[in-house]
């Protein structure tokens, strides 16, 4: 592999992919470093997206495919940036690639190994609601379509190696280190969710029918774990579903890791979206959204919210103090109404969706000296005029790495970060110098 490039983009979610495309289309070479075995980030696991209700994988895969097939874009999966060193005006980036135990160039994604593997483990991509094998292709529309072996759960029975038609399985694969020289670095490492469901007040993670927003996304996805929306405890179709807004956000009382004091920005809209999709697939279901403020602030969002009201989804301004388990494994919500008479009551529901807080997916300050805010997200050089430039020249930020945001806002920032990075590369003449040197060397 060529170990010199123009820009390294850390994170292959929708923001990172868009940065890469907007740089590559300007003629720069880009390497995307993605920690997971597939690009696509969180977006590829969503069902449909607000407010257009487009099927998420249908609009995300074109971007993934465009990046994967772009002649100027190289994608490294199962890879993480270990160090970034400034060398004059450019950077030396150390990338560590975890072994897949499957030779990437040999695997044809036929899944024969997967079918042969006897081990079943909960599937992270399906929010642990479905199962996968110990060797598996990450998910149907993963890119690249290459299997990986989960050594933690592998029994080394050898079935996969025997089933593989191309001898791609290599139990002895070692981690690989790549030293990449680059003129610019873009941090697009996205977000993670707090473990709000494990908070004592929400049942300590033990209530089967209390799900997180992302789990509900999977249940609603056309190719999700059950193929339809069912209660995890008994496989029954739920009659009543509740959404607990700000469960892990705008809360100073939850410990770190379970909640955050800020607004996570997308939960109001995804709850409304999920409520709409639910009432589409289960016409008789009764849906209640418990909320503090509905933050339908983006383009077309307010109409979306008003449509949801008109569809008969109940919006109740209330705080949910705790969740316990009642009869039939029904979660029971202790709610304190903020409106009407302010009464406190217990409301049973068949199924409850919690909206966890959104936190930074990665702390880049361990490898790049960028500044991090007290909220853990990357700080920009000037929050108003240059939101995508960090305080380290040549390092830029895009998407949810600089705070919770939805897909359109992530896409816009990705474009902006690409513009900033392109101008940095032009100013330092890094790209052109590199090409001239390469040509001279080639002669």
């Amino acid at each position: 592999m060529n170990t010199i490039t123009d820009a390294v983009v850390i994170g292959g979610g929708i923001a990172g992919l868009q940065v890469a495309l907007d740089l590559a289309d300007q003629g720069f070479d880009v390497v995307i470093v993605e920690k997971e075995p597939s690009i696509g980030g969180k977006m590829i696991s969503l069902s449909k997206v607000f407010p257009t209700l487009d099927c998420s994988s249908c609009i995300c895969t074109p971007r993934m495919a465009a990046a994967a097939h772009h002649e100027r874009i190289t994608i490294m999966t199962c890879s993480e940036v270990q160090a970034v060193q400034r060398v004059g005006e450019h950077f030396s980036v150390t990338i560590r690639t975890r072994p897949r135990y499957v030779i990437e160039s040999a695997c044809i994604g036929c899944r024969k190994c997967e079918y042969a593997c006897p081990v079943l483990v909960p599937h992270e991509f399906e929010g642990n609601l479905g199962a996968r094998r110990a060797i598996y292709v990450p998910f149907t529309n993963a890119m690249p379509q290459v299997a990986l072996l989960d050594v933690e759960n592998c029994t080394f029975c050898g079935a996969c190696a025997r089933a593989c038609p191309t001898d791609a399985i290599d139990y002895l694969q070692e981690p690989a280190i790549t030293e990449m020289e680059a003129g610019a670095v873009v941090v697009a490492s996205g977000y993670a969710l707090t473990e709000t469901q494990t908070a004592d007040r929400y049942g300590g993670g033990k209530l089967a029918n209390v799900l997180t927003g992302l789990q509900m996304e999977r249940l609603l996805a056309p190719h999700g774990p059950y193929g339809r929306v069912l209660r995890p405890s008994d496989g029954r179709i739920p009659d009543t579903v509740a959404f607990v807004q700000c469960a892990g956000s705008r809360d100073h009382s939850l410990p770190e890791g379970q909640g955050v004091p800020w607004c996570s920005r997308v939960c109001c809209m995804y709850a409304i979206k999920q409520a709409m999709l639910l009432s589409g697939s289960l016409p008789l279901v009764d849906i209640t959204i418990y909320y503090m403020d509905i933050r339908a602030f983006g383009k077309g969002f307010e109409q979306f919210y008003q449509n949801a009201r008109a569809m008969g989804i109940n919006f109740v301004k209330a705080r949910v103090a705790r969740i316990t388990e009642g009869e039939n494994a029904n979660p029971v919500l202790r709610i304190e109404r903020i409106e009407e008479d302010g009464r406190v009551e217990d409301q049973p529901h068949d199924m409850v969706v919690l909206t966890p807080g959104i936190v930074a997916g990665w702390d880049p300050s361990s490898v790049i000296p960028v500044q991090i805010g007290s909220d853990g997200f990357v700080l920009s050089e000037h929050a108003s005029l240059a939101p995508c430039r960090t305080r380290v020249p040549g390092v830029f930020v895009a998407g949810t790495a600089s705070g919770p945001k939805d897909i359109p806002d992530s896409i816009v920032e990705a474009g902006a970060a690409a513009m900033e990075a392109a101008n940095h590369l032009r100013r330092t003449a890094y790209a052109s110098r590199r090409r001239t040197e390469a040509e001279a060397g080639g002669r």
Partner: protein
């Protein structure tokens, strides 16, 4: 119809379940597998995924396919993906036909899977018929001018211009007003950096003026545009009165927004000088503003100030009445909650004795650091009242000029509140600016909210349906300074991608004329809706197509009595074949 033998590959996509939950995809495959020239017919979970595309590539190699049909989602999503697959496999990318059996079959026939399956089969058969008649095409290539016009000199326009000038494009900022900066040019501080807006502007302007290749045209309007992507010929009307011509490769529209102006009497507006809009109030808070930073009533500092949110935003039919000839503004203006809270904190800081009230429906402090502003406002002593959207507060001004605000507060369980106040601040929203001439000039669509409509609200927020035109800042939707700056840079990036090379490739679906069939009747010339796309020189019989201007709409082909003019890739004989196939395919039994 076709004489030559073709080798067609047909691929039916499950789309995860989006298609296969309704359509029996195997039946569709079986229903078309025996059509003449079909060499392989298959189905797959996601045709757009790597395995799906590899399947096509392998079949092209193994079976020598020369035409490919994929039946999947809308062509707007994946047609380009599969053309790319053909190209990588060494086939001309235009030997590809995309059939939409998701929007046009599975999604609209959920209640009739069998009928949907029959329809899908027919559509695929028609696609095959067309594919058999496809011919290789080459993209239209047009040279580009490495210059960009930015219409509007506010924050978004300036930011975009600076980005592009730094990328060494020639940039022209066209600003109608005498001064640059738009709304940023007014006094007042802005969140989140808590800086005077004018300081931000000064910095930007200094940068813009220092960049070679960046020209700022003030008191200038864009009055006409001809040409196309890569080469727009613009006419500017400047202060001198002499129109001026300019050629640019791309245009960034950054025309911004307008503040909602309440109508006379709306929440007391215009009935007292102590009922003001938020932008006016922010100006007064600024020591450089019209009142020198003083907020007074009868010469004495005010005691009680109320902010009323959502004035001109989130309007509801039956509750709000649009002005004569006006419209309701149903959208949320996004920035006003934070702006109002930010202003109330500043008010409390400067005048600690003031009692501040805030009447809202939902507090939408969504952005980074904005929840802190909300909490700080509460700590600063702001008292909040929550009202329902369909029960807005009222403002009454009596003969003595005393102001009373009445509302029903949801936070205290529907308690009716009546409060005398010294000053009412109407938190007015952002509404689309009237840019009708530009909209007509470029035939731009608007979203239902009246702002400019992007190509795709999720994935292509700064592009519009006119090639070569981009939108930046609040002309697309309400947004704050940082968001406008990001949107401007994103638009610049798109322009830079477009104009980076010497030529631009366009789709080849343009009109073409078979001269020997043309008798020069001229019907097509009269029908063409695009300026100069179809022309005929003096004394000539046969018209000429300007392939860069032609949009392939087919109006000319529809009127030609001799089928002399036709649209490449959408030829009449291809349509004929499709219709024949639809009629012939009864679907499966």
């Amino acid at each position: 119809m076709t004489e030559t033998k073709r080798r067609v590959g047909v691929y039916v996509c499950h789309c995860g379940g989006n298609i296969s939950d309704v359509i029996d995809v195997q039946k569709v495959v079986d229903g078309v597998a025996n059509i003449e020239d079909v060499v392989v017919a298959r189905r797959e979970m996601f045709m757009c995924s790597d395995p799906g595309q590899n399947l096509i590539a392998e079949d092209i190699a193994a079976h020598n396919l020369d035409r490919v049909v994929v039946a999947a989602c809308s062509p707007s999503l994946h047609e380009a993906t599969f053309r790319g697959t053909l190209k990588r496999s060494g086939l001309n990318p235009y030997l590809y036909e995309h059939v939409n059996i998701r929007e046009q079959a599975s999604w609209c026939h959920k209640d009739d899977p069998e009928g949907g399956t029959r329809k899908a089969t027919r559509l695929v058969a028609a696609g095959i018929a067309k594919a058999r008649n496809l011919v290789p095409l080459d993209p239209v290539r047009v040279p580009v001018t490495r210059a960009v016009a930015v219409v509007g000199g506010g924050i978004a326009g300036l930011r975009s211009a600076i980005d592009l000038a730094k990328s060494s494009f020639e940039v022209h900022v066209i600003e109608r007003a005498a001064d640059l900066g738009g709304h940023l040019a007014r006094p007042g501080r802005v969140y989140p950096t808590d800086e005077p807006a004018q300081d931000l502007l000064t910095g930007l302007l200094a940068q813009a003026r220092s960049l070679p290749g960046l020209t700022l045209h003030t008191e200038t309007e864009l009055v006409a545009s001809t040409g196309y992507l890569g080469n727009f010929r613009l006419t500017l009307q400047g202060p001198s009165g002499e129109p001026r011509e300019l050629t640019v490769g791309s245009i960034v529209l950054a025309t911004g927004f307008e503040h909602y102006q309440p109508s006379l009497g709306e929440l007391g507006f215009g009935m007292s000088d102590r009922v003001v809009t938020l932008p006016d109030f922010i100006e007064r808070l600024d020591p450089r503003g019209p009142t020198g930073g003083q907020i007074v009533k009868d010469g004495k500092p005010v005691q009680r100030v109320v902010f009323i949110h959502c004035v001109g935003s989130r309007q509801l039919e039956g509750v709000h009445v649009p002005p004569e000839g006006g419209r309701l503004y149903e959208h949320c203006s996004r920035v006003c909650c934070t702006t109002a809270l930010f202003a109330s904190i500043e008010l409390a800081r400067k005048f600690p004795q003031v009692d501040i009230f805030d009447v809202y429906q939902d507090i939408r402090t969504y952005g980074r650091g904005q929840e802190d502003i909300y909490e700080a406002a509460a700590r600063a002593g702001v008292t909040f009242f929550r009202v329902a959207g369909d029960a807005p507060p009222t403002v009454e001004i009596d003969a003595s000029g005393a102001i009373t605000v009445r509302l029903v507060d949801l936070l205290t369980f529907n308690e009716p509140i009546e409060m005398p106040v010294d000053l009412v601040v109407l938190v007015t929203g952002m509404i689309p600016r009237d840019i009708t001439p530009l909209i007509e000039m470029f035939k731009l669509p608007r979203s239902p909210d009246g702002f400019l409509q992007e190509v795709h609200p999720k994935l292509r927020p700064v592009e519009v349906c006119v090639d070569g035109l981009f939108i930046a800042g609040a002309c697309q939707a309400p947004m704050d300074v940082a968001e406008a700056a990001a949107s401007a840079s994103a638009a610049s990036a798109k322009a830079a991608c477009l104009l980076g090379g010497d030529v631009i490739s366009l789709d080849p679906f343009v009109a073409s004329i078979q001269a020997e069939l043309c008798d020069g009747c001229g019907l097509c010339l009269a029908e063409c809706v695009y300026v100069k796309a179809l022309t005929r020189a003096e004394g000539e019989t046969v018209p000429v197509v300007n392939t860069a201007l032609c949009k392939g709409c087919g109006m000319c082909a529809a009127v030609c009595p001799h089928e002399a003019i036709t649209v490449r890739g959408w030829e009449i004989k291809q349509y004929d074949a499709m219709v024949d196939a639809i009629v012939a395919t009864g679907g499966h039994p």
